[in-house]
């Protein structure tokens, strides 16, 4: 049901040419995805998606639109080639899902290896009831450090790209 809504929103995004409306729909799309994550027991993911995906992304995109204008022009080329590429790729992916384990199957390979170790031992070893937190911050702490390095790099990149511009302007004056 929620997934159906997601598809409807995604198709509306394809059809719309007003970019402000597109970005508002993107925010709604993220919120729907967050609701869906709650339904599938992924509460940590849901509140990150709601805060970061629906919140920060939307603000960033609106700020960009303020600088670049908000009407999309109609592409001059025909739609059939992209459509054909998408349909062929989609067909291949559907074919690949036929071998996937049943949805929610407790015996699927993904649940047999590594995961039981965390589910059974992590509350005792780290003293945290939330397994997602203990894997993120304790067992895989170095990965999270790497993640913050990525964010730092992106932040530096944004500052350099936008900050260099201001200096050029001053030199021209």
């Amino acid at each position: 049901m929620l997934l159906g809504f997601l598809v409807v929103i995604a198709i509306a995004i394809v059809r719309l040419r007003n970019l402000v409306a597109v970005i508002m729909l993107t925010g709604i799309y993220s919120l729907h995805a967050a609701l869906f994550f709650v339904a599938l027991d992924a509460v940590d993911v849901a509140f990150t998606e709601a805060a970061v995906g629906a919140g920060i992304s939307t603000v960033l995109m609106l700020a960009t639109l303020g600088l670049v204008g908000h009407e999309e022009s109609r592409p001059s080329s025909r739609a059939w080639l992209p459509l054909a590429v998408v349909l062929v790729t989609g067909g291949a992916l559907v074919f690949a899902t036929l071998d996937m384990p049943r949805f929610g199957d407790p015996d699927a390979p993904i649940h047999r290896h590594v995961a039981p170790r965390y589910i059974i031992d992590s509350p005792r070893e780290t003293g945290l009831p939330n397994m997602v937190t203990s894997v993120l911050a304790s067992y895989r702490g170095y990965d999270t450090l790497g993640e913050t390095v990525v964010i730092f790099t992106a932040g530096v990149g944004v500052l350099l790209l936008l900050g260099g511009r201001r200096r050029d302007d001053e030199e021209q004056e």
Binding site: A10, T26, L40, G53, V94, R102, G104, G155
Partner: protein, 116 residues
Amino acid sequence: MALSLYNYWIVIVLMMTGFYIVIRSTNLVKKIVGLNIFQTSVFILYISMGKVEGGTAPIVTDGATAYSNPLPHVLILTAIVVGVATTALGLTLVVRIKEAYGSVDEEAIQRQDREA
């Protein structure tokens, strides 16, 4: 059979919608929106695989018989945050392109490149 794969098929539909926007739209901001849709569909794929029937959220509670798999959740938490970092960088590049070319439309940019 068909119903058990419903989630994955919706993921593919969303993924292809995002892909279509990326290759069809000529507006750079909309291309980034397309990438975001694609990205979220991958999140949904991972979270769907982590679900266990009759399980609860992976937080220790009394009376819980099964927990959903916490590992995809951890991966996707990281992916969401990194995704926003890349979106921010992409949008900054769009702003710079707008300043250099006066347009964020791919066709107009290519026309200027050919003339130059």
